[in-house]
Symmetry: C2
Subunit: 312 residues, 2 copies
Amino acid sequence: MIIALSGGVGGAKLALGLSRILPPEELMVVVNTGDDFEHLGLSISPDIDTVTYTLSGLANREVGWGRHDETWSFMETMESLGGETWFRLGDRDVALHVVRTRRLRAGETLSAVTADLCKRLGIGPRVIPMTDDRVRTRLLTEHGWLDFQDYFVHRRCEPVVRELAFEGAATATPHPAFMAALADPRLQAVVICPSNPFISVEPILAIPGVRAALVACKAPVIAVSPIIAGRAVKGPTAKMMTELGLDPSAGTVAHRYADLLDGYVIDHADMAEVVSIDARVTLAQTMMTTIEDREALARTVLDAAAVLRRRK
Amino acid sequence: MIIALSGGVGGAKLALGLSRILPPEELMVVVNTGDDFEHLGLSISPDIDTVTYTLSGLANREVGWGRHDETWSFMETMESLGGETWFRLGDRDVALHVVRTRRLRAGETLSAVTADLCKRLGIGPRVIPMTDDRVRTRLLTEHGWLDFQDYFVHRRCEPVVRELAFEGAATATPHPAFMAALADPRLQAVVICPSNPFISVEPILAIPGVRAALVACKAPVIAVSPIIAGRAVKGPTAKMMTELGLDPSAGTVAHRYADLLDGYVIDHADMAEVVSIDARVTLAQTMMTTIEDREALARTVLDAAAVLRRRK
């Protein structure tokens, strides 16, 4: 069994690579829910949706969110009726949010709804939210504290970030299947996907018990750097690091996971970083453009984990 | 000023005819809200929507509900995700419901939201809900009491109706602009559109004060029969009359409005009914197939009202 910790786009790409080389029952993708929010009366889980759309082959790979078979009548009409349109919701996407919202309101857990939606979308691996409790990432900026999607989508990550908080994390319970898998002797590796550490991975690590369980975990913990040559493949990771007074590098990301990291996969372009990283480093092509890139990186990660398992 | 009382399709057709021959400021359409319901977390007002879609030229004239420029990705996806699909909601229609639901939840009245949506849809005449309070039509059938849309859409009007109730009507307040218009000396006529008396017009009449105000009204009250030669143009009017032990005829409808009716427009086909009707009868072509039919019937109604005004 492999556990992959994932945020949105970058994480989902590697999760897809893993899903193509592992039997479905051997992969569990644990997804950040700090990005979740309520919008237009709908409960939206952007990272879970990116992961499920990616794993089901429905993702729009060009824009990195939503579905490739999407239509836009809903949004067009919202616009003409004076509704809020800053968060783009396709017609098919809205249907998923309506189904989820209805079921959550009826008392189902996010993980139960996600499991059922995955089944209906034909997804084999288990996709679970990091917690069924409410966690909300907020950012302190020059405009004060902002809700995540307000910062991320509405303000296009433009505000300067000074601090992050994961509201609700301290009292949240990690998903029991996640914790059970971490303690399972059959666990082969935990893969921290190349997602933004601040807004995608650290919300998962902020839930009580998760970080300690990863440190205690017998299987190797191996991360893939979301930074290539000082730049984020997508999103505000590098900008955010600079704003937080950190050097935007693969090494800095490794440092944030230092206590739990056994292995770290970085791009060939970052070879010089190796000296600053306190984990076994594997060099690879970490930019995932094609489906073959995703599979190749997944194989590299699993091979590196196999080496680490023999050493651990 | 002309007031038109309307339900859905048939009423909206005549309201459209009236809107094409009257200056916008001289027409007020008062719409039944007994059909309103909450579905998929959305506040839906079917009769208001049929009227506004019809007046704005957006209506789908073939099916009699929804928009002609509709797309169906939302519904297709709901189907694939196991959501409820018995009430067909197009992508554009969903946007309108989302906007309305949001605004109602934020504390706006249904009439304020309707007024704004009408403005955005370019509708000139005033369209107002019969009340801003919650009224829900329910039907006693062989399956017990059913919510209106469960009977009307989900069960396709198949259950046998024994009794109707308008929940909330007894404690509802009629829209103040409606009551003010009824008492306005400039009022020229009240037109009861050819809508189903039981489920479209009587919910309006059930609100305390409305029936008395119509009886007391100085302007003539003139109805158009929704029954032509013993059959309803659309919907379950005739079936419902038979089930309620009534003869499905233009005369029976007139009888239900007997205390308030000054004039009644029936189809040439129903000439024999004239003897049973206690109001001044005008014969006309009441089937509205083309836009010219709608205008012609509207003219007939206004002409008949003019004659009644001189007599009253």
